[in-house]
């Protein structure tokens, strides 16, 4: 995994192979499993409420999910945050996707996450295809083109999914 640099964030092709499955509790109390998202493009998004860039990025992720209308699943994972901190944050910044609690960093470590925020873009078979180790301008992404880019990943850049 490349370290986050000072340059503008771009989605990078992921070459690290498959990531481990997970099941985590959500702030609503139920468990969420990665496997349940199979069949759609999935954004696995690691964040913390104390991380300022993360706080600003979450509403853009929510807008992307809304535009996608079910074709893109967002799983947001709060890393080592106090439950109440996460609950309070989403009272004032509501989102429509599930918020998972990685209380002991176990999933973040298994996925080799060093930077918050970090987002993995998985295809419908749950294979990671792209990663961004920084906040990202999700408002520039066309959900339909994102799915196409994932289908063609290996030969297509994620930039093709951008509206820019």
């Amino acid at each position: 995994m490349q370290p986050a640099g000072a340059t503008a964030a771009e989605l990078q092709r992921w070459s690290g192979g498959g990531q481990s499955a997970f099941s985590l509790p959500t702030i609503g109390g139920a468990a969420a499993v990665l496997e349940a998202a199979r069949g759609h493009a999935v954004l696995v998004h690691f964040f913390a409420t104390w991380c300022e860039p993360c706080r600003e990025e979450l509403p853009a992720l929510n807008r992307l999910a809304a535009r996608a209308g079910g074709s893109v699943t967002v799983l947001a994972i709060a890393v080592a945050d106090a439950d109440r901190s996460v609950q309070r944050f989403f009272v004032t910044t509501p989102v429509d996707f599930p918020i998972l609690l990685d209380r002991d960093r176990a999933v973040a470590k298994a996925w080799n996450v060093a930077t918050l925020p970090t987002t993995f873009v998985l295809d419908a078979s749950l294979q990671p295809k792209f990663v961004v180790e920084s906040d990202f301008a999700w408002d520039t992404i066309d959900p339909g083109k994102l799915s196409s880019a994932l289908d063609a990943a290996g030969s297509t850049s994620i930039k093709d999914a951008s509206n820019r």
Binding site: P53, V79, R84, A108, T115
Partner: protein
């Protein structure tokens, strides 16, 4: 209600209101052992909106080192059930309080007494060869923890910093200087670490407070094979040397938590260090944002390698602490009171649900 009697009697409570001013051209930062000071620390904690069974864990001073700190007993009052608990690995003591679901206003108040004095060691004088650690203690204090790994990028960084250094003091001093020189927040760095020192090094985001900077120092020293440990505590009085940034300005010390670091040097024993406080002087000492060669910074930088002032108490040395009775995750360190209600971990910024105040009073013989 549980009570334990204080060991000492006949004391008057005062708080040192004097606040010496640090003259720019007259920096005399010279902690000198010899004068013990006694303090009473009182923590009051409330869970304002209980949602079922509630619990709290309050760190208690549990470090006893004959040359710089003595922790006495604590006493408490509560409408819950309170027991003293001790971390099995590090000996960190805490008051564990549990309240039934029908308790509408969970509250606990605990008072602890400690005595502390300045620390200083002259590392230019030869040490005493007999002062050494057991192999078990050496192993314990050089191994990695959840947030302080000592392999990978931490080891690589430590090796680079200590390259060419031939003895322990040179190596540790090189790491201390590296922390002072390199830790700051770089506005160009994007994102945050996930909370361990490896992620700080990977992201290049070397900003942080004591729990970040001194943890990085400890990890780099441990990675060099030299015993080191974080010491988690709280400032209890102003600095008598005039450093506004290195003391508690009022009797309310709720936000004055501070961790320091010790390294074990053969021949000298556990030695006081605090590179994070050098960076605090740079950032916060009036007029703030001081130059690295400012006399106040230079004095702190020189002094805090081998000495610190006894206006601070140590709670414990503990990492990765499991809170008894909780099914939640371990806490990285136990420096702040912790709470849960309805099996939900609270946090200290949650003013609507979790309130606590910590006060310090210096005790003087009547």
């Amino acid at each position: 209600m549980h009570r334990r009697e204080f060991l000492k009697a006949g004391v008057a409570l005062t708080f040192a209101a004097e606040w010496p001013t640090l003259a720019h051209a007259d920096v005399n930062f010279d902690p000198t052992p010899g004068t013990w000071r006694n303090f009473q620390i009182t923590t009051r904690l409330e869970i304002a909106k209980p949602a079922g069974v509630s619990q709290a864990w309050i760190p208690l001073p549990s470090v006893n080192q004959k040359d710089w700190i003595k922790s006495s007993d604590s006493q408490w009052t509560t409408n819950g059930k309170a027991v003293l608990a001790r971390d099995l690995h590090y000996g960190a003591e805490m008051l564990h309080v549990a309240w039934a679901a029908n308790e509408e206003a969970p509250v606990v108040e605990v008072a602890s007494r400690i005595a502390t004095q300045d620390r200083a060691v002259d590392l230019t004088k030869p040490g005493k060869p007999a002062i050494d650690l057991t192999s078990a203690d050496r192993k314990f204090n050089t191994m990695g923890t959840e947030l302080i790994p000592v392999d990978g990028i931490v080891k690589q960084t430590s090796d680079k910093i200590t390259a060419g250094k031939t003895n322990e003091i040179e190596k540790v001093h090189a790491i201390y200087e590296w922390i002072v020189e390199n830790t700051f927040r770089d506005a160009k760095v994007r994102g945050c670490g996930i909370g361990d020192i490896a992620s700080m090094l990977k992201t290049g985001n070397l900003g942080g407070k004591c729990a970040d900077l001194n943890a990085l120092f400890v990890g780099l020293v441990r990675a060099a094979g030299i015993p080191a440990r974080d010491v988690y505590g709280i400032r209890v009085a102003p600095s008598k040397f005039g450093y506004k940034s290195l003391g508690a300005g009022t009797e309310v010390i709720t936000k004055a938590q501070h961790c320091r670091a010790e390294v074990f040097l053969n021949g000298y024993g556990w030695v006081a260090t605090d590179p994070a406080d050098v960076r605090k002087v740079v950032l916060e000492e009036p007029p703030t944002n001081l130059a690295i060669d400012d006399p106040k910074v230079a004095a702190a930088r020189k002094t805090l390698f081998g000495a610190w002032e006894g206006n601070w108490l140590a709670y414990n040395f503990a990492h990765d602490v499991a809170l008894p009775g909780s099914s939640g995750p371990k806490v990285a360190f136990l420096m702040y009171p912790q709470g849960e209600t309805g099996n939900t971990r609270l946090d200290c910024l949650d003013a609507d649900n979790f309130k606590y105040t910590i006060k310090s009073k210096e005790l003087t013989a009547a």
